[in-house]
Symmetry: C2
Subunit: 355 residues, 2 copies
């Protein structure tokens, strides 16, 4: 298969983890006779530095002409500490999602047996957890109208949803549930928010089309608790943009490290794959960034194009690295010299010579 | 001391847990020579059933003329399942908070040694956790303008904050931090939301007035993760209304049961005390509802009026009940016949005859 992949490493640890994912994709291409070409482009703080724009036109063009996008991470401490900054790295990612209409974000949360001990949760609580979070990605409060009064003393954000926006991500989530444990949980705040009540109505209506799927409804505050108390109760979680952001980052404690969580962002015409973690600026270039979330995002990319054997091999390699403690310090208290690159090298080697 | 206390038991398990808190307050009054009078009033679904209004005028009057309000819980499954309902139980609570201007909600999260084993988190992770969450309670997206299009296909909610709204709760949080471990963490989403950037600016400015307080800033998605990974890093958490709702319910996993978390809602002219849990309709009248959150809310009430010895005695009684496993089933796998009332009776007895 020929695939033209846009690579947007971004900021902080983005470039170093993305480099490992590219290395892995190249190994897959060689071993399975595919032709993957890679085109790099700037986004986030690195794009602001060069073009005063977190999402330059050239980057959009590179993404639009690619079959898939591999994204690293964006963000920079100096912007976090300056709430007056008008141009911000995160705008690059948000505008990219919107421009390419990447409306459906899929985040698998899987408890690996080899890592049960790493979690801050008790082993019995998490063993066997396998959740797929469907997060709406191009609407809600992150994209609603923003307002700041002239005197800087009043500010507001609007959380708006339309039926169509809810339906497309909901259909995908229902279909995923059908091929899994036939359970879907909608997370909202319908007892207080009008937009959440729209979510609940739409999902209640769609449920009739998926009679074999058991649908549950829960409030975000309760879900944040239940996700920790009993994660195994969940199969597919469907939720709006911000709630999905919160829940998926929280869910990383089940897996043992946020450095393991991959995601796919699916639109009607474009697809993007990225770790759920951020730029983690203070870890930049120290060799301690975990590349597995990025590598597993590459596996989701392969799977998206029907390359299931290839994706499986990447996942096997990742699991092997976990079993053998070939992991960065966030997961490792056995060896202290396993760098980002070494993890990538191990996974590349495994692909070249599977046991 | 003479205290006129409005009691709003509300719905579901609200009445049964509130009854235990009232019993405890009566025991305190007798043993310490106080005169506490109690005036009951309806709120939530029970008020809708009788007056077609979740917050009848009579209830507001009872609250306004009281020195303090003891609140149970509201909500009913039938409303949760009907996103079209125009009159909803939760409106009663939201309107009450707004009418009485109860802007500052304080939620202690304390890991009791006797309960470390009950948490889904590892003991070492949580032992010693003592967090005070300051949640803004009368603004943000729960109170912003709501919109539903005529065709029911578009809905929105506005999250709006003013400098004044942020300042008053922030000052309280800074003062609390000063008397504790001098650490304050602001939780927001300033990389994306305009209202969060206002929070960050205001808190950055106020920080200059509290030079001995170390201030940290973190995003809500990250905070939802860090709260589980390392809760002991937090002292005082300051945040907006919805984020506080989510984080405090999530924090209940540290304590071992949501049935233990009390809260105080403080305004300039009125004060209200309530458990953070909801009406938990399906547990109603089964004797399984944990009354401790309500009883600890009563302890916060006593403390608010400077009755520190009285509050301490209530807390000692609660801890004794935990040590002796005189607890409802959410915390008990030793005895299976300890009801809501029995827990209340034990705490009442302890107050009458402390060891
Ligand atoms: Mg996030
Ligand atoms: Mg809540």
């Amino acid at each position: 298969m020929k695939l033209n992949i846009a690579v947007l490493p971004g900021d902080g640890i983005g470039p170093e983890v993305t480099a490992q994912a590219v290395k892995v994709l190249k190994a897959i291409a060689i071993n399975f006779d595919h032709v993957f070409t890679f085109s790099n482009a700037l986004v986030g703080a690195s794009a602001i530095e060069k073009f005063n724009d977190p999402l330059p036109e050239a980057t959009i063009e590179t993404c639009k002409s690619a079959d898939a996008i591999l994204f690293g991470a964006i963000g920079k401490t100096s912007y976090d500490l300056d709430p007056y900054a008008k141009i911000r790295p995160e705008q690059g990612l948000l505008r990219l999602r919107k421009t390419l209409d990447l409306h459906t974000n899929i985040r698998p949360v899987i408890a690996y047996d080899d890592l049960l001990i790493k979690s801050s949760l008790k082993k019995t609580q998490i063993k066997g957890t396998n959740i797929l979070i469907y997060r709406e990605l191009t609407s809600g409060i992150y994209f609603g109208d923003k307002y700041l009064s002239e005197d800087n003393n009043t500010a507001s954000d609007v959380c708006k949803y339309t039926r169509e926006e809810i339906e497309r991500v909901a259909h995908s989530a229902f279909k995923a549930a059908q091929s899994r444990k036939q359970k879907l949980t909608l997370v909202d705040k319908a007892n207080v928010l009008e937009s959440s009540r729209l979510w609940r109505r739409v999902v209640q209506e769609l449920a009739a089309q998926y009679p074999n799927v058991e649908v549950n409804y829960t409030y975000i505050d309760n879900a944040a608790m239940e996700l920790i108390i009993n994660p195994k109760q969940f199969d597919v979680i469907l939720t709006e943009n911000m709630f999905g952001d919160i829940l998926s980052e929280e869910a990383s404690v089940i897996v043992g490290s946020i450095g393991l969580l991959a995601s796919a962002s699916i639109g009607d015409n474009h697809v993007m794959f990225e770790p759920i973690h951020g730029a983690y600026t203070k870890a930049t270039n120290k060799g301690i960034a975990n590349p597995i979330a990025s590598i597993l995002s590459a596996a989701m990319l392969l799977e998206h194009f029907g390359l299931d054997d290839e994706a499986s091999l990447v996942r096997d390699a990742v699991e092997k690295s976990l079993t053998l403690h070939i992991t960065t310090p966030d997961l490792n208290n056995k060896y202290d010299n396993i760098t980002t690159t070494k993890v990538g090298d191990f996974i590349e080697d495994f692909i070249n010579n599977p046991d």
